[in-house]
């Protein structure tokens, strides 16, 4: 009976924790999609546009972990590969603002605290990173 109970609790715990991880992944994806488009929409070929892009991303209202926690450690980078294909040189502080055509936003620090799986040897936390790339003219998601 106790073995059955342990198995049952492990399965219940897995369902609970996996559910939260899945939701966090979707929340992070919606956030990075919106953030990348927001950053791309602010690019106007000037250094001030780059600053506005960063500021606009920082002010987005989306949250994660069932809408309770703000996204932290968000990385906003800019690049100049018009097609989005091949290698793009991503820069956090780009020098050549007029050449920028891409914005990339990464939300790397979404660590979901594992509640139940820890008890059966699972990790304490599971990180669900997310990344999106948007292009300008017209503003659109490319990755």
């Amino acid at each position: 009976m106790s073995v059955t109970m342990l198995l049952l609790l492990a399965i219940v715990g897995m369902a609970f924790d996996m559910g939260r991880i899945y939701i966090a992944r979707n929340e992070a994806q919606v956030f990075t999609d919106a953030a990348a488009m927001t950053a791309a929409a602010k690019l106007d070929g000037t250094p001030a546009g780059v600053a506005r892009a960063r500021e606009a991303v920082a002010h987005l209202p989306m949250r994660w972990n069932l809408g309770t926690q703000p996204f932290t450690g968000v990385v906003v980078e800019f690049g100049s590969n018009a097609t989005g294909a091949g290698e793009t040189n991503w820069e956090r502080d780009p020098k050549d603002a007029p050449a920028l055509t891409l914005a990339r936003v990464t939300a790397p620090a979404n660590g979901v605290d594992i509640v139940f799986l820890q008890a059966v040897g699972g990790p304490k936390s599971f990180t669900v990173p997310s990344r999106s790339v948007a292009a300008v003219n017209p503003v659109r998601l490319v990755q």
Partner: protein, 158 residues
């Protein structure tokens, strides 16, 4: 012989008490799993619906000949969240039980001269009724996208 029968009856009694305790714990576990699992499922549906509708709103032409035209556009966005379709059929079913267009708030962040800068779509005062209680989602999930569609201040919604 008699002693063995008494021992057997005692063992049956122990098994029944053990079952009564463990069944209580198991039922509580399964009910909790259903409660949270169902709520998580609904929340995830809402995250997807709100995200899709916000992206739709962001690329949609913002027609603003009159406040009624703006509201007509907002109705289409609310319908997309609730029914997955901006022009749903009369018998369309919502993506989440009892979700109504009134549970969706669409607000436009305006730039200068009334042009839309971004659109914010969120769920307000929506309760998920599970087995033993309900969870209310108010102003979550939320999605805000920049408006990248056409701005048509003198056009009316068709």
């Amino acid at each position: 012989m008699k002693a063995s029968r008494v021992r057997s009856k005692r063992q049956h009694g122990h098994a029944m008490i053990e079952l009564a305790f463990s069944a209580g714990v198991m039922i509580a576990c399964l009910a909790g799993t259903f409660q949270f699992g169902y709520t998580f499922y609904i929340y995830d549906e809402l995250v997807g619906a709100v995200g899709n509708a916000a992206r739709y709103a962001a690329s949609r032409t913002y027609r603003a000949a009159s406040p009624a035209d703006v509201e007509k556009g907002n109705v289409a966005i609310r319908n997309l969240v609730v029914y997955g379709n901006s022009r749903p059929a009369a018998d369309a079913t919502p993506v989440a039980p009892n979700l109504k267009p009134e549970n969706v708030q669409v607000s436009w962040v305006e730039a200068e001269k009334g042009a839309p800068d971004a659109v914010n779509v969120t769920i307000v005062k929506y309760s998920v009724g599970a087995m033993f209680g309900s969870f209310t989602f108010d102003h979550r999930p939320v999605a805000e996208f920049p408006h990248v569609g056409r701005y048509a201040p003198s056009e009316s919604e068709p």
